[in-house]
């Protein structure tokens, strides 16, 4: 195995019915901008591996964990309506990370602690599954878990059971999503640059459109 460690980055994106229209188009634009800006960073392009999973009534791995240089960004689509199975999606993702994460062996170096970004515009409809999985997400040795509550119907407080790092977008227009994905990019970039630093990953200052929920 390679002597260079990977930095796995998992994106979990809400595609429930309420995301249809401008919100999901903005997410698609934002994801492309994210890819472009990560590729322009010499640290990120060496280490970052990207995965995208969407969730509504179904959970889909639209991009398996792929080296940044090889990523072909999928087009994300939304069904007309549907549930928000965030709990199941998280359980699915944890199972995947457990399999995909390379651990160190005497012969090769394992991955950096993975980053997880969650974006949702509503509340989970599978509340039982969600309440079961939330503590497992907290306990998992992620480098960082960042949840984004997009739009007025999202529930920043509920997301705080997953992580202390919750940001909220007041609006669901393209400017807000663009700003969010730029911020994801700088977080991943500073993550790829500071992996190996003896201090923990610190977030860059959010753009003005984003409110960090404290």
């Amino acid at each position: 195995m390679s002597s260079s460690r990977r930095l796995p980055v998992y994106l979990l994106i809400d595609t429930s019915g309420s995301m249809r229209g401008e919100p999901v188009e903005s997410v698609n634009v934002g994801l492309r901008a994210l890819q472009t800006s990560l590729r322009q960073n010499p640290y990120a392009i060496e280490t970052v591996h990207l995965s995208i999973t969407t969730f509504d009534s179904l959970i889909k791995d639209v991009l398996p964990l792929t080296a940044l240089e090889d990523v072909v960004m999928p087009e994300i689509v939304c069904p007309n309506s549907g549930a928000t199975l965030l709990g199941e999606a998280l359980a699915h993702l944890l199972a995947r990370v457990n399999v995909e994460l390379r651990h160190s062996t005497p012969e090769h170096k394992g991955d950096w602690a993975p980053l997880l970004f969650i974006m949702t515009d509503g509340k989970p409809t599978d509340t039982l599954a969600y309440s079961e999985v939330a503590p497992r997400v907290r306990a998992f040795p992620f480098g960082s878990v960042i949840a984004c509550a997009a739009g007025p119907k999202a529930d920043p407080a509920g997301l705080r059971t997953l992580t202390d790092k919750v940001v909220s977008l007041d609006t669901m227009d393209s400017a807000a999503f663009t700003a969010f994905f730029q911020w994801v990019s700088s977080t991943v970039t500073s993550g790829s640059m500071s992996v190996g630093a003896a201090t923990s990953l610190s977030l860059p200052p959010p753009p003005p459109e984003i409110n960090v929920v404290l």
């Binding site: 322009q40 060496e46 240089e69 062996t105 170096k109 394992g110 640059m193 003896a198 201090t199 200052p205």
Partner: protein
């Protein structure tokens, strides 16, 4: 809409910037002047009195001390130095010149920059220091060759040496804070507002991963006032400088091998590998941290193959410093080579370069390996033909010359300069323009090599006891001796023939 803010700076000048954040770093937000000739970088955190005092000294006294002396104009190419401070909206900012155009990608990535879209972006040093980034992503025209890469390292060493001789330490030397232009052999230190003045201003950043000195990593968890804690200093700069030079000549990290120290905790593994158990990947006696080729991607070869391209391809002068930095001095900061030593070794290594005779060789140049049958380590092409080598000697007592451990390789277009002809001249920022002119050159004619004297008034062919006036030439034969000058410090060279 964005507006333009006009301020009066600490030095009385008028400063204008567009009120739109263009970039943000760890501590600062950056704004551009309307004409993009300078930037204003505001600290996000409120600056205390000590911080302001430090900035005042950096933009004032220290700046003048470096730039208002002999060689100051030359040094302006090596530093992007903050010129003034400003106060706006309760925040303190520094005014910094815009980077020279050489430090923005002209071509960018491969495939006419369609691969990454980095044209016109800053040439952050990381792009060039990684074998994979070079082989897979960057346009080959951005990479430079064996000679310009060496020159780039020389510029870094020279800039750091100048800081250190002024009693300053950079404290965060890394490829983030050194812009490189390997295509022309330029380098430039940036982010100088965090300079450390030993005993006066402590460092405010811990440094950058990959460049932390092992003792800094090993004691990072201690309180910053703990006397056992190592903070950035001139000695940790010396470690970072060694890493920068190694990475920009060999395109791999000197400590990042495949030894695993902790199987369960990646962070602890990394802390040990870069800290208390740091081990050179090419340590001659302990091979446990070698790079395992089985896991290396093709794009990282041949540079990650330390058996094929060991550090010794950098030649004797640099090899000896690499040993001091990563074998003897890795855990003994006092044994680390100084920036001045690196600068001298790089200057001497430039004279050991030989053009590769393979027109398709990517590196184009290689350092002479002291053998009678030299071959390019990059493409394997052996040297064909006569290869004269000039060994330089200096006199410290009338009529007696002793070796300087300095050799000059001869090839078409190679020149002799005043710093070869006289040991009292050293090529650095203090060189006068008259001293920077060549004094003679080499030419091949009819299968023989000649040295053509242009301006040396006292050149003598010692064995034949002949004066060679300017305009004259001497044939280079095995055992020939040339006295460049009879003045104080004048050197003698003895010719050896290699190749055939």
């Amino acid at each position: 809409m964005t507006s333009i803010v006009t301020l009066k700076a600490s030095d009385g000048s008028q400063i204008r910037f567009v009120d739109e954040r263009k970039a943000s770093g760890g501590l600062k937000d950056v704004f551009f002047s309307p004409d993009r000739d300078y930037v204003v970088a505001f600290y996000r955190d409120k600056m205390d009195v000590v911080g302001r005092e430090r900035l005042a000294l950096i933009t004032g006294t220290y700046r003048e001390r470096i730039f208002n002396q002999e060689g100051g104009d030359y040094l302006k190419k090596l530093f992007v130095w903050p010129t003034a401070t400003v106060e706006y909206d309760n925040r303190t900012g520094v005014v910094v010149p815009f980077f020279d155009k050489d430090f923005f990608f002209r071509y960018g990535s491969r495939d006419d920059d369609r691969l990454l879209g980095i044209r016109n972006r800053e040439k952050e040093g990381k792009w060039f220091a990684s074998a994979k980034n070079r082989a897979k992503f960057l346009d080959p025209r951005e990479l430079g060759d064996g000679m310009t890469q060496l020159k780039t390292c020389l510029m870094i060493a020279r800039a750091v040496r100048r800081l250190h001789t002024a009693g300053l330490a950079h404290s965060d030397l890394s490829y983030k804070n050194v812009l490189l232009d390997p295509s022309s052999g330029r380098a430039c230190l940036i982010d100088l507002d965090g300079l450390v003045v030993p005993g006066k201003f402590p460092p405010d950043v811990a440094g950058t991963p990959d460049f932390f000195a092992p003792e800094v990593v090993a004691t990072a968890k201690l309180d910053r006032h703990d006397p056992q804690r190592f903070l950035p200093s001139r000695l940790t700069d010396q470690h970072a400088l060694a890493v920068l030079i190694y990475m920009n000549l060999l395109f791999r990290h000197p400590l990042k091998g495949d030894k695993v120290h902790d199987m369960n905790d990646t962070q602890r593994d990394e802390d040990l590998a870069m800290g208390e158990r740091a081990l050179f990947i090419e340590h001659p006696a302990d091979p446990s941290n070698r790079v395992r080729l089985a896991g290396v991607s093709p794009a990282e070869l041949p540079w990650k193959d330390t058996a094929k391209l060991p550090y010794t391809i950098t030649g004797p002068y640099l090899s000896s410093l690499i040993q001091d930095a990563f074998i003897d001095g890795l855990h003994r900061p006092d044994s680390r080579p100084t920036a001045d030593q690196w600068e001298s070794a790089l200057v001497k290594t430039m004279d050991l370069l030989q053009p590769c005779q393979n027109p398709n060789c990517l590196q184009k140049w290689f350092v002479f390996d002291n053998s009678t049958k030299p071959r390019c380590p990059h493409c394997g092409t052996p040297f064909r033909g006569k290869l004269p080598i000039l060994n330089l000697y200096s006199s410290y007592r009338e009529g007696n010359f002793r070796p300087d451990n300095h050799r000059l390789m001869v090839y078409s277009g190679q020149s002799v300069f005043s710093w070869h002809a006289n040991r009292l001249v050293f090529p650095n920022e203090r060189l006068s323009s008259a001293q920077a002119k060549r004094v003679g050159y080499f030419v091949q004619h009819g299968g023989e090599w000649y040295f053509v004297n242009e301006t040396l008034p006292g050149l003598r062919d010692v064995r034949n006891n002949l004066a060679v006036p300017p305009g004259g030439k001497v044939k280079l034969e095995d055992g020939a001796q040339l006295l460049f000058s009879e003045e104080n410090g004048g050197r003698l060279c003895a010719v050896q023939m290699a190749g055939q």
